[in-house]
């Protein structure tokens, strides 16, 4: 159990036909039935067949997670649904772009921390940086926390993208 209320965090990946309205269908399902979305990412992953992969981070009791998967699988444009959390250890990554405006000691400290976190510097002025950081969500969150204490920041996060470990393909077209 992840939380006191018995809810668990799950990463669910979905392979869908890349057609108009498919994202609205998925999001509408979550809002209409009262499920949580912590993050959601989507992009085309296969051009010829026109397939997109949606990665959803959600939380709920085991019964709710089962419902989410069953409800998703019911949608016509959805090819397959995979619960990466249930599958075992999945690799999850998130990318964030962080702009920080500061100077003096704080500016040096920001650069030092960015180095420690292996963040890349993408842009700089005399009183600002734009960092790129990749990692799991907690690493990204920790980095953002530190930056926020060192200056004025603006944040862009992609949300989680994930895939299973090992030599099997979990999501395939019908």
């Amino acid at each position: 159990m992840d939380n006191a209320d018995g809810s668990e965090r799950h990463i669910i990946s979905v392979l869908v036909d890349n057609e108009p309205g498919v994202l609205a269908r998925v999001i509408g399902l979550f809002s209409g039935r009262g499920y949580n979305i912590e993050s959601l990412t989507v992009a085309e992953v296969e051009g010829k067949m026109g397939l997109s992969r949606i990665s959803i981070v959600t939380s709920g009791t085991p019964m709710v997670i089962e419902q989410i998967k069953a409800q998703l699988a019911r949608l016509v444009p959805i090819h397959s649904v995979c619960d990466l959390t249930e599958m075992g250890i999945a690799i999850e990554r998130e990318l964030a772009l962080i702009k920080i405006i500061n100077d003096g000691y704080n500016r040096i400290e920001a650069l030092r921390i960015a180095d420690t976190f292996r963040a890349r510097t993408l842009d700089s002025t005399l009183n600002s940086f734009v960092f790129e950081i990749t990692g799991n969500s907690s690493k990204v969150a920790a980095f953002i926390d530190l930056m926020q204490s060192l200056g004025e920041v603006e944040i862009a996060r992609t949300g989680v993208s994930a895939i299973s470990r090992g030599n099997t393909i979990q999501l395939s077209a019908r």
Binding site: A24, G28, G32, M63, Q67, A73, V76
Partner: protein, 612 residues
């Protein structure tokens, strides 16, 4: 009839006349509207319920020249969908609706939601403004696919004419396969008028279809189910609408299973007719207004075999008190119905008929024998509950009891194989309790959504599908008023629907709940300014009848059945009668109230008050 008349008066339509061009031997070049009708023909469509408007004029023009598809002109788009539902539920075919853009589509939303909740296969064709105007707030534009995404099983906005044939064919496949439901196709006007390729007799291989719901159950699970069933001493079969949707074979197999096992069987509101009401194993409907014996048997059973029912809140009552000691087996075609409300011990995903066939075969293979002594004990317990006679009522005095009206209607139509629709409210529950259904597809009622105004247009749709059958809309005076414009449709097509209005001058179920949980403060629940239903019938060229006293009842019903055309029978019933037995909201099956006296003893809990 209309259409033929229209054809004779056709003057000069040569401006739009065009011979279809043949691209090659097996590809035709046709307008979008013509392709649409071709695909409907390919899908076996004979009837469309619809209402014209600007965006669908090209389809209506193509219909004018078409001799295979009959169009029924309703008076409101909501009614078109309910009529298609009635058509679909009485025949097992897909119902088809054709409406225009904007208001045509938004008016259809209630019907689509109703069809979604009750799993009725419907294809709804909506017009849309031309592609280049989409998003411009054009006249009669609405984001139809956006609005209907949540109330359809699937929907399409077709912008590419080359995809029209495939998408419409897929829509029919989606509507009728797996758990059936409504599918909407939004058709921009430029697409309907443009020319595209149509390939006659094109069949998409089942394996290549992108929507392939599971219908064949795992044999391993069947064997497990039967081994659980063998151990049961207090079993019950709980059947639902999935048995009806699966087709008549499922009902035959249910009867075989019941005969073979000797098990008591209860049915949901959606499942009535799956087992003949006269079968000695049938212990009545279950749920909020179900029988005492069915609900208590559900509460005390040790094994529940759920066949195509979805543990709806009207059935379960308070979940924490629902059948606490039983092992639950759930058979459903929709995996998302499993473990949604009630956690079950064994789930089998598959079509009801296929599962039943396999279960019966497996029972024979495993040498299934009911635990006869214990089953006898279980039945004697059930018989004791039945002895309470929970549906008994007192017909005395000079006022017709609503229960008596429906009971007599049932008795006087026995042998006539009637098709019954209802509206929503007290009369609906009385119809479910007092009308006996011997066969599936004879009972059409709005269960999930509870749509007042469903019954009249649904009856219209049934009558179109079954022109020679007796079709009765058991109605309430308030519900009837919600879609009474359809009297005009009945009149136009001379559809002999019998409208049997249980008139108590109240929105009876609203009033009952106001008594139950709001101290009898009858806020806005009185049906004031009712029309004279006899005169109303006459203005629409149909017969109007009225029954005031119990002695009038049989005469009015007989007259109603004798008159060849449509009839409105206004049955003036006891105004204050309430619907019992009842599981009050927030209560469990064993906390039923049997009548008004019981109601005072068992007030509704605070948790129950917030429930609907």
């Amino acid at each position: 009839m209309q259409k033929e008349f229209g054809k004779q008066t056709m003057k000069n339509s040569s401006t739009t006349e065009k011979k279809s061009a043949r691209v090659t031997d097996d590809i035709l070049l046709l307008s979008g509207a013509e392709i649409l009708l071709k695909v409907l023909e390919d899908e076996g469509v004979e009837i469309i319920f619809g209402y014209p408007g600007g965006a669908v004029l090209p389809i209506y023009d193509a219909l004018f020249k078409n001799n295979k598809i009959r169009h029924i002109l309703v008076r409101h788009e909501q009614a078109a969908v309910h009529a298609a539902e009635g058509y679909a539920r009485s025949t097992g075919k897909v119902g088809v609706v054709l409406v225009t853009s904007g208001p045509g589509a938004t008016n259809a939303v209630t019907g689509l939601t109703d069809a979604l909740m009750d799993s009725v296969p419907v294809v709804c064709l909506t017009g849309q403004v031309p592609t280049h105007l989409i998003g411009n707030d054009a006249f009669q534009e609405a984001d139809t696919t956006g609005i209907t995404r949540a109330c359809t099983k699937h929907n399409y906005l077709i912008k590419d004419g080359e995809k029209l044939q495939h998408s419409v064919a897929e829509a029919f496949h989606v509507a009728r396969s797996g758990r059936p439901g409504p599918v909407l196709i939004d058709l921009p006007k430029d697409l309907l008028m443009g020319e595209f390729k149509y390939i006659p007799n094109r069949i998409i291989e089942p394996a290549k279809r992108r929507y392939q719901p599971k219908v064949n159950p795992d044999d391993r699970l069947i064997a497990k189910a039967v081994s659980l069933m063998k151990k049961s001493t207090k079993p019950i079969i709980y059947g639902g609408g999935g048995l009806i949707n699966s087709g008549p074979r499922a009902s035959e197999l249910l009867q075989e299973l019941v005969e073979f096992s000797g098990w008591p069987t209860t049915l949901t509101l959606m499942g009535l007719g799956a087992l003949p009401a006269s079968d000695k194993h049938f212990i009545g409907m279950l749920g909020m207004h179900g029988t005492y014996e069915a609900n208590l048997a559900m509460h005390e059973c040790d094994l529940m075999l759920n066949l195509g029912a979805r543990f709806d809140d009207r059935v379960t009552g308070r979940i924490s008190g629902f059948s606490p000691g039983s092992c639950k087996i759930h058979v459903d075609i929709d995996p998302s119905s499993i473990n949604k409300n009630v956690h079950v011990d064994l789930s089998i995903v598959g079509d009801a008929a296929i599962v039943l066939e396999k279960i019966i075969a497996e029972m024979k293979k495993q040498g299934f024998k009911s635990q006869s002594t214990s089953l006898k004990g279980w039945w004697s317990k059930i018989n004791a509950w039945q002895a309470k006679k929970c549906l008994e009522f007192d017909q005395s005095g000079e006022v017709i009891k609503p229960q008596q009206a429906i009971k007599r209607l049932c008795e006087l139509t026995r042998g006539l194989d009637p098709y019954v629709t209802t509206e929503v409210g007290q009369h609906q529950m009385w119809a479910a309790q007092y009308f006996d259904f011997e066969l599936p597809n004879r009972w059409m009622t709005s269960g999930g959504l509870g749509t007042m105004g469903y019954g009249l247009p649904a009856a219209l749709g049934v009558q179109v599908a079954k022109p020679d059958s007796l079709v009765i809309d058991i109605s309430g005076e308030a519900s009837f008023m919600m879609n009474m414009q359809e009297l005009s449709t009945l009149s136009q097509y001379n559809l002999p629907v019998k409208i049997f209005i249980i008139n108590n001058e109240w929105m009876g179920m609203v009033r009952q709940w106001q008594e139950l949980i709001h101290g009898g403060r009858y806020s806005e629940s009185y049906s004031a300014s009712l029309p004279d239903f006899v005169k109303l019938a006459e203005t629409f060229n149909m017969t109007g009848l009225v029954a005031h006293k119990p002695d009038d009842l049989d005469d009015v019903i007989s007259k109603m059945l004798e008159v060849p055309g449509p009839v409105i029978a206004d049955i003036r019933v006891a105004k204050e009668e309430n619907c019992f037995p009842m599981i009050p909201s927030g209560a469990a099956h064993n906390e039923m109230i049997l009548g008004p006296a019981d109601q005072i003893k068992k007030p509704v809990s605070e948790e129950g008050m917030v429930l609907v």
